[in-house]
Symmetry: C2
Subunit: 168 residues, 2 copies
Amino acid sequence: MQAAEIDEEFPVVDIDAPALDAARMLAEHSLPGIVVLTADGQVYAVLPASQVVRFIVPSYVQDDPLLARVLAESVADRAAEKLGGKTIRELLPQHQLALPIANADDTIIEVATIMGRLRSPLIAVMKQGKLHGVITAPRLLAMALKCGLIDNGHFRAVTTRRLSGLSS
Amino acid sequence: MQAAEIDEEFPVVDIDAPALDAARMLAEHSLPGIVVLTADGQVYAVLPASQVVRFIVPSYVQDDPLLARVLAESVADRAAEKLGGKTIRELLPQHQLALPIANADDTIIEVATIMGRLRSPLIAVMKQGKLHGVITAPRLLAMALKCGLIDNGHFRAVTTRRLSGLSS
């Protein structure tokens, strides 16, 4: 079974859209993350929802839970001005993130390897240079279960079998 | 608004349950992760779905996407024996993971800080030493939007206001 056979349609967001759009989409559809595209449709980043959550925390607080606890409204209000009206591009890290992308013909085990290594809640599947769809972690597990790659009491790492081609 | 007001019920899994149980629960309910409890009900870990996905990949392949690509069925079959019938405990890292937990009275900004720092798709909310509920990243964003902490075109970091207590 190949990546392009199990991926799904998923909302995407433009890198120059308001950061609010990403937050709203994730919230409304209960998404684990969102694919960020450039103006010409290239995948620029995959933003886990847990990182979009950072956008509501002033940067000087992000690594200091104690500061979050004592943060008073007056200070937070001033921080708000710095965050207001930002685009997604402005809120992304300066260095580009490692892209959790897979090729259309990648096997489940290849997708699982990329997902686990990058700790990404979803993988963007590329076909002929374009975004074909997205595979979330629960979706990948569901397909692994369905294909018997994980069976009763056994995790079977036989995912490299091209089941779609070999089944009989 | 406090953590205990926005958390939700969520499936949990016992640390000595088969790893299959975690995979199945995540797949069936499309969960972003799952809370692992010890026999006496303490939170031991929060497993992101992206890490449970690792269970279907032999450990020697996990950090090597190239190896995943060339992995043949015969090799994978042998690896399967090593993974078969494992419990969640056996598949967790040797060192205990940093626990993404919040207190019942933590504010949205505190929960967001913990979530962002640990890159966790969900936060376990503790009340009087027991698991009270779980907050996912999309849920946190939804509540931040609802409370006007993120408003039209503006991310407002006023989340430390105890809205529940101060609203009038």
